[in-house]
């Protein structure tokens, strides 16, 4: 197990905070209360469960085509979600987002994104281009038209969600995209990628998204973490496509990888000097999926229960996985794929919360890291004669207060001497 200190060595830094009174004088030799408010590190989870309820005035009658727990469960999940996570992945699967051409689900998703934003949560859109869940109606276009329709889709979504969605999976699973064959009739995105090539398809997604919102963070995302993805990344970078982060999926329905394999993956993908986003992390609290399954979607079971032993194992593995990932300085985001077993992908007991809404041990354990080991609870400190106090903690937003006056400030390794004025 990676010791806790390995994570802290990478994530913790010290700041010397100078506290001033409203009149500008320093708060010398004073007891102050310092507390962390938010992590800079992106602790993510999907926000699919909240698309219905959060956007209900816009689309109450609409089926929740993205999956998720449904409106009745969302209320009890809200606090559990917000207690641990600060970054929500919202679904922009094209076939679900625009089932009828020309009728995208924009307003409902905007409302959902705003709902998260209003609660201090950053929002990520997933994904702009993907062969799976490409709309059937796209097949009605000619090969050259498809490319233009895809460009329009990318521009439309990124433009409509500027200010609400900060990060996009610009394109998903390109390694397999042009040779994807697990479908009865080839989808139009696979045909496009096969015709123009992987790198031009990636360039299309990134360039359109970048043009529509230069400030957004654009992720190249894949589940294939073999040398194939390395080769793809190297080709994309050589071709001059600007990638903001490398997205690595880790759906572990077939079992936890262990530290050694995880470190090996980290090491291979960190060498491009780009931030690593662990975009889709899953660990089940029940039986493991048989190892011979290649496409996880092929595993269909009637019932896949969460078990007491499975829940203990999952809790242990969640802690080990997060500790391993966060001890690597390239990792900037880890997104767990689903809060609850209710409506979970593949029916797997992959949630951190049981279908009945009660937290599993993994939830408690992860909260213990994010809001415990890795968090600064309200702490009384004393300033020196020049109003300075040293605070050690993770990068993020903090508060400082003296009596009923307070201020917020940022702890960042690259700005170690912040100054705040109480108001």
């Amino acid at each position: 197990m990676t010791p806790v200190t390995a994570v802290d060595a990478v994530r913790r830094s010290e700041a010397t905070l100078t506290v001033r009174r409203p009149d500008g004088s320093v708060c010398a030799d004073t007891d102050v209360l310092v507390a962390q408010v938010r992590h800079d590190f992106a602790f993510g989870n999907i926000g699919f469960d909240f698309v219905g309820p959060a956007g209900e005035e816009q689309g109450a009658a609409r089926e929740n085509v993205f999956g998720g727990a449904g409106p009745e469960a969302a209320e009890q999940l809200e606090d559990l979600w917000l207690e641990v996570f600060n970054t929500a992945t919202l679904p922009f699967y094209w076939a679900g987002f625009e089932p009828v051409e020309g009728h995208p689900d924009t307003r409902r998703l905007q409302a959902t994104a705003a709902w998260f934003r209003d609660r201090g949560v950053s929002v990520k859109g997933h994904p702009l281009v993907w062969h799976t869940l490409a709309p059937d109606w796209l097949r009605g276009y000619s090969a050259t038209e498809v490319e233009e329709v895809v460009r329009l889709r990318v521009r439309r979504e990124v433009t409509a969600f500027a200010g609400l969605v900060d990060t996009w999976d610009a394109i998903n699973e390109v390694v397999i995209m042009p040779v994807f064959a697990n479908e009865e009739r080839q989808n139009a995105i696979t045909a496009l990628c096969r015709r123009i090539g992987r790198i031009p398809t990636i360039r299309l997604a990134f360039e359109e998204a970048r043009r529509a919102n230069p400030g957004t963070t654009l992720v190249l995302n894949d589940f294939n973490l073999s040398t194939a993805y390395e080769c793809l990344i190297e080709g994309v970078l050589e071709a001059g496509v600007r990638v903001d982060a490398i997205g690595l999926q880790s759906h572990m329905h077939q079992g936890y990888w262990g530290e050694e394999r995880t470190l090996e993956v980290l090491e291979r993908f960190a060498r491009y000097g780009l931030p690593l986003h662990w975009t889709e992390t899953t660990l089940v609290s029940g039986d493991l999926m048989p190892p011979e399954i290649v496409d996880l979607n092929d595993h269909q079971v009637d019932s896949w229960p969460s078990t007491p032993e499975g829940e203990e194992r999952q809790a242990d593995e969640v802690v080990r996985h997060y500790r391993t990932l966060l001890a690597h300085p390239s990792v900037q985001a880890v997104t767990y794929w689903g809060l609850t077993d209710r409506g979970a992908w593949l029916g797997a007991p992959a949630g951190l919360v049981r279908a009945d809404g009660s937290p599993k041990p993994a939830y408690v354990a992860l909260r213990g890291l994010v809001k415990g080991d890795w968090w600064l609870d309200p702490t009384r400190l004393r300033t020196d004669g020049e109003g300075r106090v040293t605070v050690a903690g993770w990068a993020g937003d903090y508060s400082v207060s003296v009596g009923d006056r307070s201020a917020t400030w940022q702890l960042r390794p690259d700005a170690p001497t912040p100054v705040v004025t109480l108001t």
Copy 2:
């Protein structure tokens, strides 16, 4: 099984040959004897067995570090080799070619290449850059020096063998190159590739070789035929590196792939519009290597005999494999990896000839294709009133003779009306 006609449909064409007498008049209404002399299609095999004997005046005392059957066997193998193959792969494994820095085995390899050339055989060099068999002394250089030493090596070999070696594996197995770990101490080429990236390493090899001999055919070669190689190829082509042919290895020590998988590989790699060279083909005539072996080099056995049943199976599979490959128009070369079991790679009974020099059924079967089904034996034809005769056959060199006068000509689909003058 691919029907014979599928191969012929791709490979055979018709030429209308006009035959003239030495005085320029047409050979009208005359019996002529037409015969094929050489295939344009590259039927290749390794020529390692002949490095010793062919180059003996230059380096008789030198150990045959490249493997191979040894001098005493070469004589009996010569006719068997030349009867079926027209393209020889010679070994330029750096550690063997230049075991002591500054003392490359140039003259012996030049003599061997000339020996083949004098027998009408095209020569291919394998490989210019590869992490396996990188010389130990290369580790003595700094990271930046290694790149320059590699460049010098590429330039030196391509320059010294211009006119003798027409085709080079410019670089070998780049998919695994930067992450190759099956060695106690990391070799210098892996370190280079990891430092500068796969595509810059490929560019280095191709650009130096191209500059040294613009007329040479440069092959990108790999055993990894997964999507990883596709991604690598796409990146290389996007980066503007000119690749003349895609090299595909098919060492089938673990069993024949079958037509379906082979066609799937052909289809995936043909879509780049480049010629496909099947550079290393192996089918064993004994037990199969266990499927769990990942790096074939890890399989070490004391004895690996050729068996009667294995030989029948091998013959069947050789025919099926060649028929499948040659029925695809993108395939321009197929190189079998070894004529004899004597000194064969891994000790495998992969040869077409037994260790005692007797041909296996696979040899007979392959000869039956190359010099039988796919060959035009001397055939009597009659010219029309304008000295024309229609010849159907595979692209290649042909002879035409009338009495004791003869001429050679080429049958090529893109030049269907050749004219020859008998001499």
